[in-house]
Subunit: 626 residues, 2 copies
């Protein structure tokens, strides 16, 4: 059997496979927050032709079902099918990294005064050729020469695979390449000055980003990103841990993300005509679960009280052990993690922003699925994870989507007509709403009285946009040609819980160290998402602290930036370890006053308006106007 897509692509179907499985197997990823369990109702496809069995229609309307819409994860073809995948069901990586932005990275290295010293060292050997009088074995001959330079190494068996032939082919003049942390001899090579490359990798829960770096100049010569294929095993780390452990899929999860990196690498190698052997070191940053899954380590106890990872400070291992298709001997550095829910990506963020080097008090936030925060300066660092949930990434929100074409990214509500004015990515017909659009929308709705302080929709007669929907009240942003984009009361409750978790995390962490919000001199907002939000709106929402706008700085993907720094410099690798050991992890949910803080933050912007003076001003102004 086969499935033909609207664009003509033909996919083979195995007996009993769902459409969702057929598509993901073929590298076509659908939105599916529930990981294909028929719950979230997002993996919608339209069947144009053919017969199928359908296990369920969760969240589909009668009209949709009549129009041939099905949930891909619940649909098993019975005959050949022709289908169409709506744009909003398809996952695409929106944030293509601009190469120009990566120029700053080499600058950080320079500013830090860090040496350029990648994961492989080269020692030139000019060995006297053996003779009957000087008949040392090849290994002892190498050792004699290295002894003179005070270098002692370990020699794994694979080092000897072509050693004898290579030494003679190159007339006993070679570079010996070795790994300084393990002191492993890796391979020998001719005395040439060919370029060598490395990979800096951000292993994100949602997205995998790879930078191809010239190891001599530090230049980022190419970048690539893709969705983490582990998505098919769940959107969040908890679901993936359960799949890896109870589901016995650890191997598959490991392979999924490794193949993502390999696929990105493959494209780059072709584009630049490079031999994979020249890609000779790798540095990866990911949260603790991602780091464990990358190396195939059992993640079970990350999830279970008292939340203990197998490793925080990873040894340098090798590409062959990871399954990466670089040079198989390429050392792989893993950014150290702090605890089960503050990982190497956050350590990378601190390293790249440099808050651990400065006197001023900084707040670092990564508003992704986990919502990690760090507060501190060069003397101390505290950190916590907020479990904000993935709603700002579009999950758990009825019309939520990522920041790609068709997403509402900005909303203004007319104070008089209460009609919304929408800004849509790609200036096209809206298909859903992304994180920055949600922040904008909720802030506007609050300021214009569409929702109250608790975020409850106000079904006032003057507001035609608020209506009764399937799940209770909802706000209609757009409704034409059978397509509607709404924000429901359930969505609003989710968003307020998420922003509440973040703010409660910040306040509690500050209280732990006896400081208040105003003492924060700088706020760094990391993550692809962070680039697009309107700080003032996020303050109105009560998600960000009410600080002057100039104190906020968007820093982009600091996870890959930190991986880049560690790829190039031994100093940075040691500094990453120092940062990780400096960071005191606070388990928020175990603090007795966490619930109070969280409950207080479930208001817009907060129960204590004194914390949000500018919002109070705005509200006063509004009530004057009305």
């Amino acid at each position: 059997m086969k499935v033909t897509l609207h664009d003509g692509t033909i996919l083979e179907v195995s007996e009993g496979e769902t459409l969702y499985e057929v598509l993901t197997r073929s590298g076509i990823y659908l939105t599916a927050s529930c990981g294909g369990k028929g719950v979230c109702g997002k993996c919608r496809v339209k069947v144009l032709d053919g017969e199928f069995d359908c296990r369920g229609y969760a969240k589909l309307t009668k009209a949709e079902i009549d129009a041939g819409i099905v949930l891909a994860c619940q649909t098993v073809p019975r005959t050949d099918l022709r289908i169409e995948i709506p744009q909003e069901s398809r996952l695409t990586v929106g944030d293509r990294i601009a190469l120009s932005r990566t120029k700053d990275l080499a600058g950080i290295l320079q500013d830090y005064g860090a040496s350029v010293s990648p994961l492989i060292r080269r020692t030139t050997l000019q060995l006297p050729p053996p003779s009957l009088d000087d008949n040392l074995s090849d290994l002892e001959r190498i050792k004699r020469s290295l002894d003179e330079e005070g270098i002692t190494l370990r020699y794994p068996r694979r080092f000897f695979e072509d050693l004898a032939q290579h030494l003679r082919r190159h007339q006993w003049g070679v570079n010996l390449c070795w790994q300084p942390d393990n002191r492993d001899a890796l391979f020998i090579e001719p005395l040439s000055s060919e370029k060598r490359y490395g990979l800096a990798v951000d292993v994100g829960t949602t997205t995998v980003v790879v930078y191809l770096v010239d190891l001599d100049t530090g230049e980022v010569i190419d970048t690539g990103s893709t969705y983490n294929s582990q998505m098919r095993y769940g959107d969040d780390v908890i679901t993936r841990i359960i799949n890896a452990t109870e589901g016995g899929l650890l191997r598959e999860l490991r392979k999924a993300v490794i193949e993502d990196v390999n696929d990105l690498l493959e494209v780059m190698l072709k584009r630049h005509g490079l031999d994979r052997r020249k890609v000779e070191s790798v540095s990866i940053a990911g949260n603790t679960t991602m780091s464990h899954l990358f190396w195939g380590l059992d993640p079970e106890f990350i999830r279970l009280d008292p939340y203990i990872p197998t490793i925080n400070l990873f040894p340098v291992w090798y590409a062959r052990e990871a399954g990466l298709r670089t040079n198989p001997d390429a050392p792989v550095f893993t950014l150290p993690c702090v605890a089960s829910y503050v990982g190497g990506d956050i350590v990378a963020g601190v390293l790249a922003t440099g808050i651990h080097r400065r006197h001023e008090l900084s707040l670092f936030m990564d508003i992704g699925t986990n919502g990690e925060i760090v507060i501190g300066n060069r003397d101390w660092l505290v950190t916590a994870a907020c479990s904000a949930g993935p709603c700002f990434e579009g999950s758990g929100i009825k019309c939520g989507m990522r920041a790609t074409e068709g997403a509402i990214e900005g909303v203004r509500i007319d104070p008089v007509t209460l009609e919304p004015e929408l800004k849509v990515i790609g200036d096209t017909r809206p298909m859903g709403i992304c994180g920055s659009g949600m922040i904008d929308a909720v802030a506007e709705m609050f300021l214009k009285g569409v929702v109250d302080q608790k975020g409850r929709l106000q079904d006032t007669p003057n507001n035609a946009r608020v209506r009764e929907g399937e799940d209770g009240l909802e706000y209609l942003f757009y409704g034409e040609d059978n397509r509607e984009v709404v924000l429901t009361q359930v969505d609003l409750d989710n968003l307020i819980r998420a922003k509440g978790a973040i703010f409660a995390g910040i306040s509690l962490l500050l209280k732990e160290v006896g400081l208040d919000l105003n003492s924060i001199e700088k706020v760094y907002i990391a993550g692809g998402f962070g680039n697009y939000i309107d700080v003032r709106k996020a303050i109105v929402l009560g998600m960000l602290p009410d600080l002057p706008e100039e104190r906020f700085q968007f820093v982009g993907n600091t996870s890959v930036a930190g991986a880049y720094l560690c790829l190039l410099s031994e100093d940075m690798r040691r500094e990453a370890e120092t940062v990780a050991s400096m960071m005191t992890y606070i388990e928020l949910s175990m603090k007795p006053n966490y619930m109070d803080e969280f409950m207080s933050a479930l208001f817009l912007p907060h129960t204590d308006l004194g914390l949000f003076p500018t919002v109070r001003g705005l509200l006063q102004e509004m009530s004057k106007n009305s």
Copy 2:
């Protein structure tokens, strides 16, 4: 197609396969000094029934061909065949090691005052279980505990495979097992006192010998031996090197010997009901080529001037890398080699005999294919290889065979009738002549005037045993029922060259250090072969120096004995390295006076009878009698 053996065994035949290939593939090894090239004429089998193609009949007589005898390596079945394999064509391991003899080994360890310290150390960890307040990762928790004992280790990825589960299953009380040379963490195990075992292996060119050792008591609980399956790629190291390099068969040669060890291990595991995981360390001794092939290292430059091995001092690697089916994490110690033709088996021999610890001047000889010798005491050691060739092992001798049933092992010639009296292993009908038989025979023939000082057969009318054969003159030991055992002039020339090479090696080595034969206080003769020779006869031959009989000592398989010592003791492993570095290798063939020494030794016993006073006495007595 199939081949049915006389005993009913049925073997499958692939298209184009020779009988030799069919048989070796099935684990039935035939004598074939030439490695299956149709030259040596030894792999004779009798075809009872069926059709076949024959490429050649080298060395077969017309009568044999008429009787259905073929060379297995030259015969390709055309139909199903029924065949019979004569006893003399079959390789069997004659020297089943007596367990009682291995009792001495633990005694050596004690005499040496060496500590019992195998290749794995165990450190007991009683870790405090993690909590929210003590939330170190598993690895950091282990490290914290080891730090207190001053132990720093490396952690390979495989160490973590079940770590998290194991730690919790055993309530955080475990033994951590690690390798002291590499400082690799290997695995953890419950706190139990189960027995652990190790393997001491002699990787001989001809025979592989394995001792299964209780690592706590040092007791050898089982032994096994088998022919080295590399035999199918040649009898001697040079042929095997050529097969491994020019023939591209390195992988096959490696696998052949590894499977030999695995097969022996398998039998022992079954016999003692042991789990292979309990066999947790291995120590191997072999000559330099065998050590290289065991680890799959390129042996090419061992054979080519200036004869350089890839490694003499092997790092400790692991069973999984070798392909051994012990515990995959079992460390494997390789006895260090000295040079291309003096390997770990000879270092093991020195270690086991202890000549490097004593004041007296000793001569150590291993009269195998290579004929290695060591001279020295606790202050110095010199060593050389004599390239004696394999004729004492039966190769290159028309009726040569190994010391198994049917081999003539002793000869006395009546001084009057000149009729020989034969001693045959198993008191059966003679099928050939083994090394000790050859030594006896030549010495007797010389003393009784059957050969002259140059080893030339004397075709005197009173001696019916000397006759004209296919290859010139020959001496007939036995000739009944169509079976003849002879020693030809060509054989005699070979034997004299071999003994000449050994004696020339000894004299030259002594001259190198300015000493004479009489200064040798002790002669150790190692090797399975060495156990059976008659010292007085070997002196008459001029193979051994003319010293009082009590100075000679047969020491058996010192290669496996040395491997045993290193398996059990760190002190012994370090001492083996010291011995290897003490041993000065002399390349005999490069010494200007080597040819003179060799030529002088091509007489019986020697051109300089002054070196052999007792032989001179015997000769004088004889001439008086005649």
